[in-house]
């Protein structure tokens, strides 16, 4: 089985975000960048499928700048076989432009399965996987929390409000991963050493913008100062009174 995993480089979830001088982007210096947490589940699932099949190839694909190589090496250290960097400058969050560039590369690769994270924690668009699927006219199940594949067919489950949807599909297919699908492994030292020697190819791509422009990035409004109502259970009546008469939510 030939599996592609699309991965994104994003600021660590702990990172403090500072708006840059242009008022449109973030200050990158001092920010630690990591493999998007949801993409870790995608890499892990690919590794599990390859292990279960006793063979196959896992290709990680990332669109961005040279800095993305480090992110891709993390996936290679976990066990992926090779990487393809699609080199382009991505500015405004433009999921369609990214999806088109990825779809073009994925088409050429003839993969049995393409895995994405359900969302990237930087722009939080929650879009690229299903978009690529529509562009490539492939079956797609998004935000999956369980997966079984056998004989060219798959069954995936996805959480919906108050239930779990069960979806059947045939391969080739596109899946996007949700937390809970698996426990991503940490790269072992041996894996990190091996990753340095794994092939990582770079291709220049040009993005076709879809008509969106990020005009301002600002801090969210501060929440107004709250107050401690009191200590221990004796403070409860005062809290209930405030919720009923002041905040009017009871």
């Amino acid at each position: 089985m030939k599996i592609a995993v699309c991965v994104k480089r994003v600021p660590d979830t702990e990172a403090r975000i500072k708006v840059g001088g242009d008022g449109k982007s973030i200050e990158e210096s001092g920010v630690k960048f990591v493999l998007n947490p949801f993409d870790e589940y995608a890499v892990e699932e690919a590794l599990k499928l390859k292990e279960a099949a006793g063979g196959g190839e896992i290709v990680v694909i990332s669109l961005g700048t040279d800095a993305n190589q480090e992110t891709m090496r993390t996936a290679l250290a976990m066990g992926a076989d090779k990487g393809i960097l699609l080199k382009a400058e991505v500015t405004a969050p433009d999921s369609l432009a990214v999806a088109k560039a990825l779809a073009a590369e994925l088409k050429a690769g003839e993969y049995d399965l393409v895995l994405f994270g359900k969302l990237a924690v930087d722009d939080g668009c929650h879009a690229v996987g299903p978009m690529v699927a529509e562009l490539m006219e492939l079956p797609c199940v998004s935000s999956i929390s369980s997966l079984e594949i056998a004989d060219g067919k798959g069954t995936a489950e996805r959480e919906i409000e108050g239930g779990i949807e069960v979806v059947e599909f045939s391969l080739p297919a596109i899946l996007t991963t949700e937390k809970g699908l698996n426990e991503p492994r940490y790269p072992a030292l041996k894996g990190i050493m091996m990753a340095k020697k794994k092939p990582l190819e770079t291709k220049e791509v040009t993005l076709e913008g879809s008509g969106v422009e990020l005009t301002a990035l600002a801090y969210p409004p501060e929440r107004k100062e709250g107050r401690i109502v009191g200590e221990g259970p004796d403070a409860v009546p005062a809290l209930v009174d405030a919720l009923k008469n002041e905040a009017k939510v009871l």
């Binding site: 975000i17 489950e157 949807e165 069960v166 937390k179 879809s210 969106v212 919720l243």
Partner: protein, 321 residues
């Protein structure tokens, strides 16, 4: 002028409340542009579409067929993109269905797509605001392309009565023209229906300040008394006490209820990412320096095992009194 299409959502043939919010958001945008709002409902035969005019639909398009009872991603996307025709914008709710369907419609139409839209305005070009970096920043985005597809999160736009005609029009349901790529075969539902954290107006969440799995009942009891949903921090989900569907935060759900009560939750940045948009936040924590108090409107410093049961008691008194 081209209309705004609001893609609505039904469950078991009834349109969901969140769809009224989408209609109201579409109405406000349409009024600014001086165009109509068309609502699209995809569902089984006999789907109830009464009363959608009251929330702002000039016209209600119904694609009804029993094979569309469950969400069939590919067919829904095909129907919605066809119905969108020359619309200037398509609006959808950021539910589990909308988060999957929105980008598909956009890709089919070659249109830009944004989720988590908190505000939208414009008469020609549409300008939106939406969070980025898990809510650590708010972006303003100008959309110069038309059409575009926008998804609005639950609880961001209040349903507003608008009194439009809501004239119902059946739209043809195309045969599954292409071979079915993926089929939703079943929805597993728990025996007793549970309120979803992302849809509930009140959420009561518990964290690691609760020491035993059995003690989590203080969270459940308070949620029940308030008619709210149970939420959880990642710490208690990862130790297996609660299901991931209840996790609030960056790798869980984003919620914006009227009232969010955090019991024994420290307020890690990844947790705040999922709940800081709540209208009123209450925190109970034994540590007065816990970061959760920085975002809380009201706090009680104390032991959750003492405070929560008392709160449940007082809330019950209120609803009985």
């Amino acid at each position: 002028m081209a209309a705004i299409l609001a893609v609505l959502e039904q469950r078991n043939g009834e349109v969901k409340r969140v769809s009224h919010e989408v209609l109201s958001a579409a109405r406000s945008l349409a009024d600014g542009m001086g165009v109509e709002v068309h609502a699209l409902v995809i569902g089984p035969g006999g789907t109830n579409v009464d009363g959608l005019g009251a929330f702002g639909a000039d016209k209600v398009l119904v694609a009804a067929d029993d094979s569309l009872q469950l969400y069939q991603a590919h067919r829904y996307a095909y129907i919605a993109a066809s119905a969108a025709g020359d619309c200037s914008a398509v609006l959808i709710a950021g539910t589990s269905m909308g988060r999957d369907l929105g980008p598909r419609i956009a890709a089919r139409m070659g249109a830009p797509y944004f989720n988590d839209v908190k505000s939208l305005e414009g008469s020609g070009e549409i300008s939106i605001t939406r969070p980025m970096y898990s809510g650590k920043a708010i972006a303003t985005v100008k959309i110069t392309a038309s059409p575009c597809v926008l998804s609005v999160p639950p609880n961001a736009f209040a349903p507003v009565e608008a009194g439009k005609a809501g004239a119902v029009e059946e739209v043809a349901v195309p045969e599954a023209v292409e071979p079915a790529r993926a089929t939703t075969v079943n929805v597993k539902e728990p025996e007793t229906a549970v309120l979803d954290v992302s849809e509930s107006a009140i959420v009561v969440s518990g964290g690691r300040g609760i020491k035993e799995e059995s003690d989590f009942k203080v969270v459940e009891e308070l949620a029940a008394a308030l008619n709210g949903a149970v939420g959880a921090s990642r710490a208690v989900v990862d130790n297996g006490w609660r299901s991931h569907s209840e996790q609030v935060g960056q790798t869980g759900k984003t919620v914006s209820p009227n009232l969010y009560i955090a019991l024994g939750i420290s307020g890690a940045i990844q947790h705040l990412a999922g709940m800081r948009g709540s209208k009123v936040i209450v925190a109970v924590n034994k540590d007065p320096d816990a970061p959760i108090f920085k975002v809380a409107d009201y706090g009680i410093v104390g032991d959750v095992m003492e405070v929560a049961p008392r709160l449940t008691e007082e809330v019950k008194k209120l609803s009985e009194g």
